[in-house]
Amino acid sequence: MSSLNSNDGSLVEVIGLKKYFPARGDWFAQMLDRRQIKAVDGISFSVPTGTTLGLVGESGSGKTTTGRLIARLTKPTAGQVRYKSKDIAPVSGRQLKGLRRSVQMIFQDPSSSLNRRKTAGQIVKEPLRIHELVSKQAMESRLVELMEMVGLSHHFLNRYPHEMSGGQRQRVGIARALAVEPEFVICDEPVTALDVSIQAQILNLLMDLQDQLDLTYLFIAHDLSVVKHVSDRVAVMYLGKIVEIADTDALFSDPKHPYSRALLGAIPRPDPRAGKRMVLHGEVPSPINPPSGCRFHPRCPEQIGEICWQKEPDGITLPNGTSVACHLYADEGR
């Protein structure tokens, strides 16, 4: 299947993607205050068919906005999202409805993503009804099939969201996303709102489903251990930029960017003697007025001088396939 796609086997490509929001809400305030929040500021990556790209970063780093841009819930300020080599920004109407069958999303908070006045059955049925995928007679059995696919019995079909646990609700959310048989699924922190004991179950379910249904994932999270578990490659975001993209093993064994190292240092380790952790100081700067040069320089413990606050680093591809945006590696690119 993947060979039919674009030349390099990428299902989704993101090229120079930018999304700026006005700093103020209504049009009158916007006239007085033209500042913009640069939520996503020129990022590029691609997701090969059948793989999982993890997207990590602190809150406010723009990872959720990236997910919403790829899902085409919002339109980019600049740049492109290409699905099967086709720009999705100008798509509308019937074509957009078609795109909705291929690209789906699993939301962070299952209590907000399920309509509280609808039963699980009604919720999962909705996309089937809108796209007219299943006849009336076959609907019931298709619903049961979908529910069982995510590990819920058909008894849940008549349940309202408040009658289910967080994990069960998230399963309903997954069933809804998979109802249209998508190829690409954006998982926006799908386990963040769940109990730790439930997280592993949902992650394993997502991975099983990927194998069964040949899904491609963009997996957004701020918990690195979760990302490590599911991703083939990981992109690290900081203030609207991607600072490093690397294969999961490479990132976790040998993080290149100072920010990635700091993030990895934030994973709790059971052994207190495991060595000194790198701790970041200060707050994430405002995305309205990001720092000059490298955005990480005010907090970076490994600054090498003037170049860091004067020149924005380009992505440098290292011999092992890691791409890193840091002046430290200026001479190592291949």
Binding site: G25, D26, W27, R68, A71, L73, L96, K97, R100, R101, V103, Q104, M105, F107, Q108, D109, S112, S113, L114, N115, R116, R117, K118, E126, P127, I130, H131, E148, G151, L152, S153, H155, F156, R159, Y160, H162, E163, M164, Q168, G173, R176, A177, V180, V196, Q199, A200, Q201, L203, N204, L205, S225, V226, K228, H229, I267
Partner: protein, 327 residues
Amino acid sequence: MSTSDVVTPPIDVMTPGRKKHRGLLEEVWHNFKKNRLSLTGGVIVMLSIVVAVFAPILAPYNPVEQFNAPPGQHNPLPPLSRSEEGTLFLLGSDKVGRDILSRAIYGCRTLLQLAASSITIAFVLGILMGGVAGYRKGSWVDETIMRVVDIMLSFPTLVLAIALVGAFGVGKTHIGPITLSNMFKIAIVIAITYSPAFARVMRGVVLQEMAEDYVDAAKMSGGSGWQILTGEIFVNTIPPLIVQGSLNMATTVLTSASLSFLGLGLQPPRPSLGIMLNEARDYMFGGAWWYALVPGVFILLIILGFNLLGDGLRDSLDPRQARRTRL
């Protein structure tokens, strides 16, 4: 947590537990019946509706039939007196010898008809305007609708009523093939002044709901804006709208009564509580206390009933809000 180390057994299909939660209606009734005041309001409202519906059965006489006062006496006659024909006026008679009880019962009917039809029109208008404005928040559609709502809101009901009645007269109005009854015209006047309240509530609730992920999820499912608004968001706006409706019902009743009191509403001899009050003005200080008291108490009870019911409904539909306002 390090999920990579956790080995989970293959997941069995889960079945729900036994515990069944209450549905929305059960929940509301459960909260509602605990509050005696709102139950009282509900009973008063039910009673007035029964009176309105069964007016022809309940009223002892025809509300427009005139009886003569016995020799030596003259109308209005006090309660429990008899006319020359021998009919008993339980609550007295009015200036031309009509039975006040019968007129009040029929007046109750017309008042509720008027209030209910105006609130329904206001409801529909308000929901449409507020829903569309909320869904298109920040756009020119939103701005236009909400400015129109502001204009409607700044119009005093009575001034608008005088203007419209002046323009169209008090009888039936013919606009092309459509004939508008007087009652319908008044209902529209009242509805225009009350729909902004619904529009604002609706817009607020829609904005609140739009922030929920299920709206984005519905977009991802391929639903159109209209489908999402009617199929997903609308069900969640019903409780606050019901509260708004029942609270506004009381003021609508008052406005309807005031309009007929001023002679702008239903026209005599149609029985109307407002007209009765107006007629009673001339006799108020002449000892005919029952003349004004009966329609006044009817209006008071209906308004009180709707107010208590509205408060009770608000408390039981949104218990958290109720606790906050009671502090």
